[in-house]
Amino acid sequence: MQSSTSSGSDLREKLKELLVSELNLVGRDPASIADDAPLFTRERGGLGLDSLDALQIAMLVEERFSVRVPEGDEARPIFASIATLADFIAGAAGSGGERG
């Protein structure tokens, strides 16, 4: 379980590895993903994911970090990039949303 003492950069690296393995991004090196690379477009080094991936990421975040990602439009800014997703998880954890 992710601990609240993890630094932000640890969390980002963890998320990158999680996405590559769980979304089966074969051939993609987690280290090559920029923190601010967009998740849902291929522009600017983005991952080109889609809405089914977003659901999968939300499920994984809930499972691994015990943080529930809101559904619908509220989720949009959270899923902008690895950095925004990591900030959301760290923020939710800091506000007592995290177990463990």
Binding site: L23, N24, L25, V26, G27, G48, D50, S51, L52, D53, L55, Q56, M59, E62, E63, E71
Partner: protein, 759 residues
């Protein structure tokens, strides 16, 4: 050879049956739909704790009777029970005289006995020590009692006799496609009447899966409403009896309506999300109308798919507008999914009964749950009260996961459909097999290499596909995509599918007996250990039996019809027969018949138990180790092959489907020339049938050693036969495959000009 004129005749619907959350019959359901009633209520069939919503359209008070056969309990299922009720109602209404008539049965489904399988899986995935060995063995022995074909077998047993049966899945368009297959059988004069429909029961996998996809509306589905949040999961069954209108007239049976046109297409877009412009559904609507000899001005009602999901409804509204043009401002549209839920496979069949009764009664039921139409769904909605108006023709749409879209067009009882040209000869223009030894085509296929000892799985390097496009493909889909690419290579010279953004019209029929058993077990394990909120949304679509066809149509950009068929050990033969029927009936210029079976730890454990019992009784000689594999055979009308400049490898001479009572294949023909039997079926049943036929003294191709055994092997034997003919090793071949006594016999001849023509 020019296309020959049909002789199809107009098809009449002479019986309907339905079971839904609103009623135990088609008429009760219809009356309550018309009154705007909504059959949504809290789930009771299983414990709903932890699911995102437990509001479902459940069939209340359904009893699933236990069955006993030769002293052993046979597994009944909720889905089979629903199917039987609706099929019986349709047959009763049709008053079909069964004596001397060839009656067919086509059943669509997605979950079959999943609800019951879930209980067995929950025993099998329990940690060691939690369940005793006897309970585990009992669960294993019953684990494969619920394949996709089980409800079909149940209806066939209870309402016998049927001369031809088929089980299919195209996700939520299965019910509609069951009618397409039935219509094809009538067109080819394979049957005199056909009972077609589909059934699906509620289960944990679908409630958890659609929940994980965020596709369920906790307040109940509100199709086309601006506040809609998703669908309501339902259950039920719908069945109809189809026969030639002239036959119904001859026996003084009044038809309810006519089936005038139909069309199936694939979006080749995404496994769960519809392609937003609605191009494929619009084309399907236009083709169905053209097939019916009608245009938008003749349509008086559209019975929409209308699930109530945020993505479906605007897409479908776009599609209806594209297909109807200016008439979109006149034609009322309604959906019943806010009242009886989304019954998945059954939806298209239940909606057929609704369309039929709407035509009979001149009443359009309203869209229950719709109060504030979404401006993105600019249609003529039927809100609150039904509309009374005489109807001339109705379109009914069904769209499934993987982008499998089917549209049916119904007319009044006295309407006439135009003749549709049938294909002449059907030829094979490509074939390939995939075994643990690798991909085989051409001469390599004619002399299939032995598989290295202890190699039961296809090595990973052979399954190399475009990593980005293939990242969601499960193992069956990968096997199928690889073998299909090999078979298509010669058929697609200069027409590389990956490089062609518009895709092409090729369709796909994929045979698979058991589907994704191990993936379903994994899904159930997560459900059990982590709860319904944490099941994998991305894995859920792969549990639908039609998913390999969906994935492959997307990967290879195939835009023709795509569907899965299942018939246990003869699923490969069933796919070949189904493809042949569709091409011969002029439904498709070309189709690929694929067979695939992946290795499965659970299937292997189950079969070890089953075969150990059978060996103890000396009933089965099948002792080969389990393996996995796939085959692909491209079938095309001879005209199409000629127009595309494709060299036929072989031509189809005869496809015979026989039942368990067949004592000899007396109808089996044997063309002139060097005849070779190519069969991998080791059962005495298959051997005896060949020995008792005109093929008794034909040479036998020695089946290569150590192929292992799996349910797609019959497809591989057919692929080998095409290569044997192409290489000139034979003038004609026979392949025979049996499962539970039923089976298929396929006679192929050389593909070049001047060979025997199909009688």
């Amino acid at each position: 050879m020019s296309a020959v004129s049909g002789g199809r005749g107009t098809i009449a619907v002479t019986g309907v049956g339905a079971v839904t959350s609103l009623g135990g019959t088609a008429r009760e359901t219809f009356e309550r739909l018309v009154r705007g009633e909504r059959g949504l209520r809290p789930l009771t069939v299983f414990d709903g704790a932890g699911y995102r919503t437990t509001i479902v359209a459940e069939v209340a008070g359904l009893e699933v009777p236990a069955e006993v056969e030769s002293g052993r309990r046979r597994d009944a299922s909720r889905t089979s029970t629903l199917a039987l009720m609706a099929a019986r109602e349709a047959l009763d209404e049709s008053e079909l005289p069964r004596e001397g008539l060839r009656v067919g049965l086509v059943v669509g489904g997605t979950t079959a006995g999943m609800l019951e399988t879930e209980s067995l899986l929950s025993v099998l995935v329990s940690p060691a020590g939690e369940v005793d060995e006897a309970a585990r063995k009992e669960a294993l022995a019953r684990m494969l009692s619920h394949p996709l074909s089980a409800p079909t077998d149940k209806v066939a047993r209870e309402l016998a006799p049927f001369t031809r049966i088929r089980s299919l899945s195209s996700a939520c368009s299965s019910g509609a496609n069951a009618l397409v297959v039935g219509a094809t059988w009538l067109a080819l004069d394979l049957v005199d009447a056909v009972v077609c429909g589909a059934a699906d029961a509620l289960c944990r996998v679908t409630l958890g899966g659609f929940g994980a996809l965020g596709a369920l509306d906790p307040e109940g589905a509100r199709p086309f409403d601006r506040r809609r949040k998703g669908l309501t999961l339902g259950e039920g069954a719908g069945f109809v009896v189809l026969e030639r209108a002239r036959d119904a007239r001859a026996r003084r049976k009044a038809a309810l309506c006519t089936l005038l046109g139909w069309s199936s297409r694939s979006e080749a877009h995404h496994i769960t999300n519809p392609e937003p412009t609605g191009e494929a559904p619009a084309r399907a609507m236009m083709t169905a109308m053209r097939r019916a000899g009608l245009g938008p001005a003749d349509i008086d009602y559209v019975n929409a798919h209308g699930t109530g999901t945020p993505l479906n409804d605007p897409m479908e509204s776009n599609a209806i507008a594209r297909a109807l043009g200016r008439d979109v401002e006149r034609v009322p549209v309604s959906s019943q999914k806010g009242q009886i839920g989304h019954t998945l496979a059954a939806a298209g069949a239940i909606e057929t009964t609704i369309s039929a009764l709407a035509l009979v009664r001149g009443i359009i039921p309203p869209t229950g749950g719709l109060e504030e139409p979404d401006p993105a769904c600019a249609l003529v909605h039927v809100i609150g009260a039904p509309r009374d108006q005489p109807l001339r023709a109705v379109l009914s749409s069904s769209f499934g996961f993987g982008g499998m879209d089917t549209v049916l067009c119904f007319g009044s009882a006295t309407a006439e459909a135009p003749e549709h040209p049938r294909a002449g000869r059907v030829v094979v223009t490509g074939s390939a097999a995939l075994t643990p030894a690798g991909v085989a085509t051409g001469d390599g296929l004619a002399a299939l290499p032995s598989v290295p000892a202890a190699q039961a799985s296809v090595p990973a390097e052979i399954l190399a596909l475009d990593p980005d496009r293939a990242r969601r493909l499960d193992r069956s889909s990968r096997l199928a995509a690889v073998v299909l690419e090999a078979a298509l290579a010669p058929s697609l010279r200069g027409e590389e599918p990956a490089a062609d953004p518009t895709g092409h019209e090729l369709g796909l029929v994929l045979g698979s007996a058991f589907g994704a058993v191990d993936a379903t077990a994994l899904f159930m394990r997560r459900l059990r250990e982590k709860g319904p909120r944490l099941v994998s949304p991305a894995d859920f679509p792969s549990l639908v039996p039609s998913s390999p066809a969906g994935h492959v149509s997307i990967y290879h950009h195939l835009r023709g019809a795509s569907v899965v068929v299942a018939d246990l050990a003869t699923s490969g033969e069933a796919a070949f027969a189904q493809s042949h029927e569709l091409v011969a009936a002029g439904e498709a210029d070309a189709l690929v018949a694929v067979a695939v079976e992946e290795r499965s730890t659970i299937v292997e454990q189950v079969l070890a138990v089953v075969f150990a019992e059978a060996r103890a009784q000396a009933a089965s000689p099948r002792t080969e180790p389990r393996a996995e594999g796939a085959s692909a055979i491209v079938l095309a009308s001879e005209e199409h092959a000629r127009a595309k400049g494709l060299m036929p490898l072989a031509a189809v001479h005869q496809v015979l489907v026989f039942d368990e009572h067949a004592e000899a294949l007396s109808e089996l023909t044997r063309p002139e020339g060097r005849a070779v039997v190519v069969s991998c079926d080791p059962t005495s049943r298959a051997r005896d049938l060949v020995r008792g036929s005109r093929w008794a003294d034909a040479a036998q191709l020695p089946w290569p050693a150590q192929q292992g055994s799996h349910e797609a092997m019959g497809g591989i034997a057919l692929a080998v036969a095409t290569a044997v003919l192409a290489r000139g090793d034979a003038d004609t071949t026979l392949c025979v495959g049996t499962a539970r006594g039923r089976g298929y016999a396929v006679v192929l001849v050389k593909g070049s000009e001047g060979t025997a023509r199909c009688p």
